[in-house]
């Protein structure tokens, strides 16, 4: 393993944003980290790069055998840009508007390799050519505003890779790009990875991007890992209710057959007596009021999606008849097959918790269709499960 992170915990003041996360990546492999806002995915990767100035970082981050937590700033500076590169979502805000892109790519190379300006400039042109920018010598002398979004992301990749790092961390690198340009950038990252045996950590909210390029996937929710698995089993047979819900709620592009249930396992637990009474949604349950300033207990399910789970006054009023989570696929639109044939999406009720007010117990329990009383009290540990994976759920094994 070029990178091995264990028990990583990151806090800002009183707020613990990442809480005991383990992951690692080998040369030539890609780890996808998936999560929504506040899940801690970006904070974890910034901690690996040593880019948190004021945060409390604990646990262990071993890069090529060397411990980075507590390492002197100078040592981190020597590794950053040289052996670990990073690219971000918005390339324009990461490029200096006053300097030419060639100067910016050359800077890190000059510092890390004590190269001459001329040699560094040549290196910049070489890198621009490698990432597929036409007329690289001319383009190296231009400023960032002259580049399109996709071209800027190529410049960022050239900059991150100029010193031949062993690890590339890509934080939502294609989120701001159009889909055809996204395809180009993903293809570029994969080509360079294959050529150089680069280890890649791809942070994204887009499950499709992860399915395209990741070998292994870490699903984060509320600052913790909920599921960690090789990509294929994760997508084929997601185990954690959050992973299942997330995969089910994304409309696919595969042709729909009217009345066909989504290809995601049923969320209803098979253990008798579990289906009724969802403690996490009872009004006054801890964590609900605190989770969202504007949220009342009862309104958490907001949605009309799951009237059965909502004893509150909103439930029946806002629900369209017969639109439970199970029959939701068939109900919804009364239109012809040509209409919204894929029916309702099986949505996860509620919203992701804010790091300043994570619910007690399992952090997903207020939104979980299968939550048990134990889920509200006790945080489930991340345990090994079938198929070379780890799942943090009290119901692991009982859910089908």
């Amino acid at each position: 393993m070029i990178l091995q992170v264990s028990g990583l915990t990151v806090g800002f003041g009183p707020v613990t944003v990442v809480d005991g996360v383990d992951f690692g990546v080998e040369r030539g492999r890609t780890l996808g980290i998936v999560g929504e806002s506040g899940s801690g995915k970006s904070v974890s990767s910034l901690a690996v790069m040593g880019l948190h100035r004021t945060a409390r970082v604990s646990g262990s981050i071993r890069f090529d055998g060397e411990e980075l937590v507590g390492a002197p700033a100078e040592r981190l500076r020597a590794l950053r840009g040289r052996r670990m590169g990073m690219i971000f979502q918005d390339p324009l805000s990461c490029l200096h508007p006053f300097y030419t892109v060639g100067e910016q790519i050359a800077e890190a190379y000059r510092l890390h390799f004590r190269a001459s300006r001329r040699a560094a400039r040549e290196r910049a042109v070489e890198m621009l050519a490698e990432v597929g920018i036409p007329a690289p010598r001319r383009r190296a002398a231009e400023h960032p505003h002259r580049f399109s979004g996709g071209m800027r992301q190529r410049v960022m990749i050239a900059m991150a890779l100029a010193c031949e790092p062993d690890l590339l961390i890509a934080d939502e690198p294609t989120t701001a790009l159009d889909v055809t340009v996204q395809a180009q950038i993903l293809e570029l990252i994969q080509r360079i990875q294959a050529e150089r045996g680069l280890a890649v950590i791809m942070i994204t909210h887009d499950l499709g991007v992860v399915a395209r390029i990741a070998d292994e996937v870490l699903v984060m929710y509320g600052g913790r890992t909920v599921e960690h698995a090789p990509a294929r089993p994760l997508f084929k047979d997601p185990r954690h209710p959050y992973t299942r819900g997330l995969l089910a709620s994304v409309p696919g592009l595969a042709p729909s057959v009217p009345g066909l249930a989504p290809s995601v396992p049923n969320l209803a637990p098979s253990v008798p007596g579990l289906a009724s009474g969802v403690p996490g949604l009872a009004p006054g349950a801890p964590g609900l009021d605190s989770g969202e300033p504007g949220l009342v207990p009862g309104a958490l399910g907001l949605a009309s999606e799951e009237p059965g789970l909502l004893p509150g006054p909103l439930g029946p009023a806002s629900a369209s008849p017969g639109s439970g989570p199970e029959d939701g696929v068939e109900s919804g639109s009364g239109r012809a097959a040509e209409g919204r044939g894929s029916g309702r999406l099986p949505a996860i009720p509620g919203s992701p918790p804010s790091p300043s007010a994570f619910p007690p117990g399992c952090r997903f329990h207020p939104r979980c269709p299968s939550a048990l009383p134990a889920c509200t009290a006790e945080q489930p540990p991340l345990r090994p499960a079938a198929g070379d994976r780890k799942v943090a759920c009290h119901l692991e094994g009982a859910l089908r």
Binding site: E36, T180, H205, R212, P251, A303, L314, S320
Partner: protein, 326 residues
């Protein structure tokens, strides 16, 4: 054929037949002062209760089209007939009655809500269309609660703020709602909630949606018919099934093949058309077919003659070689 489709193609017919379109857009144009033709002759119809998806990449003119329809932007050419009345030349006062019928939901819920107004003020609007019980009823319908009425937008999460935006749009009882990227700023798990809410409201109230988005899977889920825009023009317009299962324009095919699918097996095996280069600037569109510099099928004809929008296999497509496609 769509490379993802292993099943026989569903039969294609052109949406629910309703003779009178609610909205009829003809040759709509928007030329900005700099000579940029953001929208360059767009025509389509929208029937009552129907959803027309409008997809394309940034800069293709899809949002400009939506804004011209609700008259947030004054078009520079063409007509927008709503219920038979041309809106394009109406003076602001004459436009007022139509404003009740035409509403819009925006991408960024926070940017589109006045931070200094309470939810009640936002939803009831400057003309105080609704009484307090009506506001509360509407808030409850979109999944909020009565006590939210006196709060300010910053007290809400993104998904809740978008619900307020939806309530605001519905307050006047519109017949057509332009949804401009209504879910793309939201977390993945919230997107499905909002998509379901929009679908339910449409079924209840018979709304027509112009659903503008860059996310092809969400558009597919929502739409009866879909229009694909490239550089200010519609390049393909047809039923959802026709477009997604049997795309005829090379650009539509490239777009569909570029969307990553949440299935590693599909991703490992599917054939992908990766377009080279970026979309050209609308300030200097290429001659002939504006897609030809990026098109694998381009011939000499494409470099000189702009292809007209014509009927091929039950949909409209602007490509000289639409029949020749695999």
């Amino acid at each position: 054929m769509n490379p993802l489709d292993t099943r026989p193609a569903p039969e294609t017919h052109d949406g629910p037949p309703t003779p009178v379109p609610l909205l009829s857009v003809r040759d709509l144009r928007m030329t900005f002062g700099s000579g940029v033709r953001a929208v360059d002759g767009v025509s389509f119809d929208l029937r009552p209760g129907e959803t027309l998806g409008l997809v394309g990449e940034s800069g293709c003119g899809k949002s400009t089209t939506g804004r011209m329809i609700v008259r947030l932007l004054q078009s520079t050419g063409g007509t927008i007939a709503f219920d038979g009345h041309d809106l394009t030349r109406l003076p602001p006062r004459a436009m007022l009655p139509f404003r009740r019928d035409l509403q819009m939901i925006f991408q960024d819920p926070f940017a589109s809500l006045n931070p200094r107004q309470t939810v009640h003020q936002i939803v009831s609007g400057p003309r105080k269309l609704l009484t307090r019980p009506q506001v509360i009823e509407l808030l409850e319908r979109v999944g909020l609660a009565a006590e939210h009425a006196d709060r300010y937008p910053h007290e809400f999460s993104g998904g809740q703020a978008q619900r307020i935006g939806i309530a605001r749009a519905l307050a006047s009882g519109p017949r057509l709602v332009v949804c401009d990227e209504p879910v793309s700023a939201l977390d993945v798990s919230i997107q499905a909630q909002i998509v379901n809410l929009l679908a339910d409201l449409q079924d209840e109230r018979g709304l027509a949606y112009l659903f503008i988005a860059h996310d092809l899977s969400v558009v597919r889920h929502m739409s009866d018919r879909v229009a694909v825009m490239y550089l200010g023009r519609i390049v393909e317009l047809g039923s959802r099934a026709a477009l997604y299962d049997d795309p005829a324009h090379p650009y539509t095919r490239a777009l569909l093949s570029a969307v990553p699918v949440a299935d590693p097996d599909v991703e490992a095996t599917r054939e992908r058309i990766v377009l080279r280069g970026d979309p050209p600037s609308p300030a200097a569109p290429p001659p002939g077919c504006s897609f030809h510099p990026r098109c694998a099928l381009a011939q000499d004809l494409c470099r000189t003659a702009p292809p007209p929008l014509r009927e091929v296999r039950g949909r409209q497509v602007a490509c000289h070689f639409a029949e020749a496609t695999p």
